[in-house]
């Protein structure tokens, strides 16, 4: 079945350092979404990417969708303690499916 892997599993940074998580799918995706889950919380939608090679920015966050639509990345510039949480990518295969498959997640810890 479709698998979506993320690396790293865990990253610990000093506040102000940059952070990147990478997402790789075993199948081509029609779109990819990113969610953030604070400790003890629920996933919260961040963004959706649809086009091959698409890059979107939200303040300090930069999201990229690969040319082959099988991988994606999230980069945070100058992390803050409020960035702490687990970042999940979630991919949708092409075709008539609405089954959004979540990646394995990257837990970000930020030390002040």
């Amino acid at each position: 079945g479709q698998q979506v892997m993320q690396i790293p599993q865990y990253q610990h940074v000093q506040e102000g350092e940059d952070f990147t998580t990478y997402c790789n799918s075993s199948t081509t995706l029609s779109n990819i979404q990113w969610y953030k889950q604070r400790p003890g919380g629920h996933p919260v939608f961040l963004i959706q990417l649809v086009k091959s090679g698409e890059v979107k920015k939200q303040k300090r966050l930069t999201f990229q969708f690969g040319e082959a639509k099988k991988n994606s990345s999230l980069h945070i510039t100058a992390t803050q303690t409020t960035d702490v949480g687990t970042y999940f990518c979630a991919g949708l295969r092409g075709g008539a499916t609405n089954k959004l498959i979540f990646g394995t997640g990257t837990l970000l810890a930020v030390q002040p």
């Binding site: 079945g1 029609s30 779109n31 979404q33 969610y35 889950q37 919380g41 629920h42 996933p43 919260v44 939608f45 959706q48 649809v50 999940f88 979630a90 949708l92 499916t97 609405n98 089954k99 959004l100 498959i101 979540f102 990646g103 394995t104 997640g105």
Partner: protein, 116 residues
Amino acid sequence: EPEVTQTPSHQVTQMGQEVILRCVPISNHLYFYWYRQILGQKVEFLVSFYNNEISEKSEIFDDQFSVERPDGSNFTLKIRSTKLEDSAMYFCASTVRQPFNTGELFFGEGSRLTVL
């Protein structure tokens, strides 16, 4: 801001007992989902529901699981005979459009199920 609400927030049950988890999706949303997350692990798809029927289900969603929309607001997940491995956080989610048509999922805060 509209939100997805779930009850109970935590349920403890004995193995073999039936459990019903309840969700009230956002009122104008049309697509409903159940996901589960075992502690510290990824968010796993269970089932999607549209137009009063199951759209898709995962291999986890076996005969012990069922979903229902008994009225215009509630969306329930029933586990007929719970097993230890059903212990997890169960998230309900809804969207106004299908994800492949730019529909973000709105998640509830979850129901933690502990099976003893």
